[in-house]
């Protein structure tokens, strides 16, 4: 049991967003030392080794895929989309929390975002990177990916703009670009700090180049503020749009279980749901290993838990509506689809999904649970699994029995499906390990400003 969790078990929601007693220098020291100070720790090495091994697994899986073709996966007719698309949607979903926290909460002047937004954004970018791989890899001829881009060509052909997959290309790439910019711009002053504090020359040069000549002049600061605000403004609609567009991939199709108007809102909710789950999953170990409990306080965990709870309830509503409409519409195919989900060959996964996404997270209603770090961690993990299952049920279970019974089939993932999936987790973790090792995982600048305020009022506004 985490001592610190039990301490302010009753008023976690009132807990400060920054434990008292921090000075500007102490904050700066604490954060930058992780990067500049004591060299690579054994723990980091160990974790990184595992992550990197998984990344190599991805490497093998992808090479084999390109040599042999998508046939190495479990996909077939009628289930022509399998793990690849499931993972794509899952990762994209995870990629939502970051921008939401940094952009929307910034616009809403939520102070508690400051200490988590940096690695939330990092997580977003890495998740989107993982997600972005799948639409490419799942193509039969990935080397022709550029057919999906509108560019002047000798065939006098454009992409087919009625297809949601083309919308995806734009939505995802825009999202990736903006999040990347947002993340980087936010980091510039901190990079400058690191540049100035770095002991060895190489580090100083590298951080210097990245800092792009930041001198902290008043002009710089005002530009910085404007840029962040602008980007935040740009990013906010994207948070909603990306997953809406992703949901169109399904709702535009006529497959029972896909063809539903409720998809956009409940995909976005689901995305934020899984996003926050992932942030918690990452935040808890990090604050533990790097002793950041007084920067990432119970207040943060508590708030994130609440967001999860809220979005989780929306998702639950989504499931209920799907079922209700299936019967209310009187459409026999939809009815069969729902019955098949609940009682068919894949029923186990459906009920597991309900358990993970709806039943178990209800424990978050209890403050006691929200304030217990280990339980929170477990719940977050369960939600991550649940959200993956949701996509599995939507993609695979809908496809395996649609209109013409003679074409029904069952889907069985192959070892290559798993290798690719686990591999992307490896990619994600590898990037994340590198990030926490070489970049400031918490925004020094914003924490400083927070110090100002906490010192003025002791409590944030």
């Amino acid at each position: 049991m985490d001592p610190e969790g039990s301490q302010n078990i009753n008023e976690a929601s009132q807990a400060p967003v920054l434990e008292p007693g921090h000075t500007l220098s102490s904050v700066t020291e604490k954060i930058s030392s992780i990067v500049l100070g004591r060299g690579t720790t054994k723990g980091w090495m160990f974790g990184f080794a595992i992550a990197f091994a998984l990344l190599m697994l991805l490497n093998v899986a992808v090479t084999y895929l390109l040599v042999k073709g998508v046939g190495i996966w479990g996909i077939r007719i009628p289930i022509a989309w399998g793990f690849a698309i499931v993972n794509f949607v899952w990762w994209i979903g995870i990629g939502h929390a970051g921008t939401l926290i940094s952009a929307i909460l910034l616009l809403l002047h939520q102070k508690w975002r400051t200490s988590i937004n940096r690695f939330a954004e990092a997580m977003t970018i890495f998740a989107v990177a993982c997600a972005g791989m799948f639409p490419l890899l799942h193509m039969g001829r990935p080397w022709l990916f550029f057919y999906l881009m509108p560019y002047p060509n000798a065939m006098w052909l454009w992409p087919q703009f009625r297809s949601p997959l083309v919308w995806d290309v734009f939505a995802v790439s825009t999202y990736a670009t903006v999040s990347l910019l947002f993340w980087f711009v936010g980091m510039v002053p901190d990079l400058a700090t690191l540049r100035d504090r770095a002991k060895n020359r190489a580090a100083r040069i590298i951080y210097g180049v990245l800092a792009m000549g930041w001198r902290g002049s008043a002009v710089h600061w005002s530009r910085y503020e404007t840029a962040s605000l602008l980007l935040a403004g740009l990013a906010t609609p994207l948070v909603v749009s990306v997953h809406t567009v992703v949901s169109f991939d399904f709702s535009v199709a006529i497959v029972p279980g896909w063809h539903s108007t409720i998809f956009p809102p409940y995909f976005v909710a689901g995305a934020i749901y899984s996003g926050f789950a992932m942030v918690i999953t990452l935040a808890i170990p990090i604050r533990k290993f790097y002793h950041l409990e007084d920067l990432v306080t119970m207040r943060h965990l508590d708030n994130m838990a609440k967001v999860m709870l809220a979005t989780g309830v929306i998702v639950a509503y989504g499931y209920m509506m799907e079922t209700f409409i299936a019967f209310y519409s009187g459409n026999q195919y939809d009815r069969y689809m729902i019955m098949n989900r609940m009682t068919g060959p894949y029923a186990f996964f459906y009920w597991l999904l309900i358990a993970c996404n709806i039943v178990i997270p209800q424990v978050l209603w209890s403050r006691r649970v929200r304030n217990s770090v280990p339980i929170l961690f477990v719940v977050a993990l369960i939600v991550n699994v649940g959200m993956w299952l949701e996509r599995f049920v939507i993609v695979v279970v809908s496809l395996h029995r649609d209109y013409i019974p003679s074409a029904w089939g069952t889907y069985m993932p192959t070892r290559w499906d798993w290798a690719t999936y686990v591999g992307t987790i490896g990619l994600f973790l590898t990037l994340f390990y590198l990030f926490i090792r070489f970049l400031p995982m918490i925004s020094i600048v914003e924490m400083r400003s927070l110090v100002e305020e906490t010192n003025e009022e002791g409590q944030p506004k």
Partner: protein
Amino acid sequence: MSQIFHTSTNVLSRLSIYGGVFIVALLGAVLYGVELSPWYTDVHVSREQPVPFSHKHHAGELGIDCRYCHTSVEKSAFAGVPPTQTCMTCHSQIWTNSAMLEPVRSSYRTDKSISWTRVNALPDFVYFDHSIHVSKGIGCTTCHGQIAEMPLTYREGTLYMSWCLNCHRQPEKYVRPKSQVFNPNYVVPSNQMELGRQLVKEYKIQSLQNCSVCHR
């Protein structure tokens, strides 16, 4: 602590921001240029042939009709490349011992085909049919260029899809009277557009642009 960066580097960092965009654009432009270059398209590049056959001499100066050699152009998808026999009909009489024609004679003796280098090659997934184009008033030279002035044959058009579509979208710009189809010296009249429109009507030319017309 001494400055590691000279102030001038600020300019660099600014440039790098804008630079990024332009470099990408430039790269695209270059690729597009390459795709249109003769090096890539073989347009106006005459090919090495076992026998330096001159359309200029045969079709131009001697005025032999295209169909004398390309017999199946009106009946089949392939225009047909003349069998050695066709060459020998004349060349058993004239130039009987020119060294240049030895490959032809030996082919006739040994019954081994002359293997010509293809000048106008389409990818295997494109199905072009000569007969229908010829019968709808599309002249040889429209696609094959001024064949009567080619000492060594070369490719006139890129044969890109855009090149095909260019005509399929506006046949009136290229169609000619059926009587003129095989005329290698046909000159596009000044009133082509109105003539074209009228011929398109007369020959019931549909501007087919759906995929399965050529791909299947």
